[in-house]
């Protein structure tokens, strides 16, 4: 019965992998930031299923919140697109 939860764990990790692949691939840095926020949500679910509430609280705050915002600040203050050449 609880195997479903283990499957959910693997599922959330795969989701995180998918999002991180998209984040690395995309040229638009804002899109990359949004993807990494999605990856953080997926990882937060994974940490939750790994039974680490303390880690989830710290991780959510840092990854969904602080990283996203601070990187948005950085993109806003610098430039948005990764150019070729």
């Amino acid at each position: 019965m609880s195997l479903l939860v283990e499957f959910l764990l693997i599922f959330s990790l795969i989701l995180g992998a998918y999002f991180s692949f998209l984040a690395i691939k995309s040229r638009d840095l804002v899109k990359a930031i949004v993807f990494s926020a999605g990856q953080s949500s997926a990882f937060a679910l994974a940490f939750f299923l790994l039974m680490a509430p303390d880690v989830v609280l710290a991780y959510l705050a840092v990854a969904v919140g602080i990283y996203t915002i601070v990187l948005l600040y950085a993109v806003k203050k610098t430039e948005r697109f990764e150019e070729d050449e």
Binding site: P53, D54, A58, A61, G65, I66, V70
Partner: protein, 264 residues
């Protein structure tokens, strides 16, 4: 994506996959792990063992009791890593004066967001205080609560503006630095508390048979403080909240003014 990139990526992936297979097959013990390691068992057994208080940390939360008691000095230095990063940020962004000359009504998001944020702000602070004060009983603790506390000023920065924070809550950069320093000094004093009480051990929480000294009790009246853990959590809570506020105040300073002030 050129062929070279693809080859590089595939090579990395293959290497790491091999490593992980090696790890699974022999490196990390039981597969699947249905048992825990003996040291972890020790922590789980003893962190709130009310029947044999020799090894206990007086907190039912194993992670917090490890963070601030069993492996407390790690957390002390971890706090200092964040402190040094904040100082590094100040070193780079420090300017004497950079002010925004614009009216309050033009800045920020729409009225709806402003009102909602005004309403949510105290709730955020209350939630964070609840997390911090119950940090030694339920998940959460100083850092987590501090980050939630920082949500409040961050929401205000987004919905109103940076100057709103400085005018309405009187939170300037210097004040944030003061709050942060006070919190950190409190942590340092709490670490050195047993030293002042005549024991030779830093960071001691509960008295032990082999190291008796004047210690804080595990509960003050009805409040379960777990010795020093609650105070550590509160101090860290203030320090982290103020630190994040400081960093984002620095980051949200208007770019043109900053450039001019730095002299670029």
């Amino acid at each position: 994506m050129s062929l070279k990139d693809a080859v590089l990526g595939v090579a990395m992936a293959v290497f790491l996959l091999m490593v992980s297979v090696v790890v699974v097959l022999g490196g990390t013990g039981w597969t699947p792990s249905t048992e825990i390691r003996p040291l972890a068992k020790f922590y789980l057994e003893n962190c709130f063992n009310v029947f044999n208080r020799t090894w206990w940390a007086a907190s039912p939360e194993a992670v917090t009791s490890m963070l601030w008691d069993y492996r407390g000095i790690d957390t002390y230095y971890e706090t200092s890593v964040f402190f040094l990063a904040v100082i590094g940020g100040v070193t780079i962004f420090r300017v004497t004066e950079a002010k925004l000359h614009r009216k309050m009504d033009d800045v920020g998001l729409s009225l709806i967001v402003k009102t909602t944020t005004r309403m949510v702000f105290p709730l955020v602070v209350i939630v964070s205080a609840s997390v911090a004060l119950h940090g030694n009983l339920t998940p959460g603790g100083g850092f987590q609560a501090g980050v939630i506390l920082a949500v409040g000023p961050l929401l205000l920065i987004a919905a109103f503006s940076r100057s709103f924070l400085e005018e309405n809550l009187k939170l300037s950069k210097d004040r944030c630095l003061i709050i942060r320093s006070v919190g950190l000094i409190a942590i340092a004093l709490l670490v050195a508390l047993p030293l002042m009480a005549g024991s030779l051990s830093l960071m001691q929480n509960q008295a032990k048979p082999w190291s008796q000294a004047l210690q804080l009790p595990e509960a003050v009246g009805p409040i379960w403080t777990s010795g020093t853990l609650l105070f550590f959590n509160v101090a860290e809570f203030l320090a982290v909240g103020a630190g994040f506020t400081l960093l984002f105040l620095l980051l949200s300073a208007p770019e043109e003014e900053l450039k001019r002030a730095i002299g670029l």
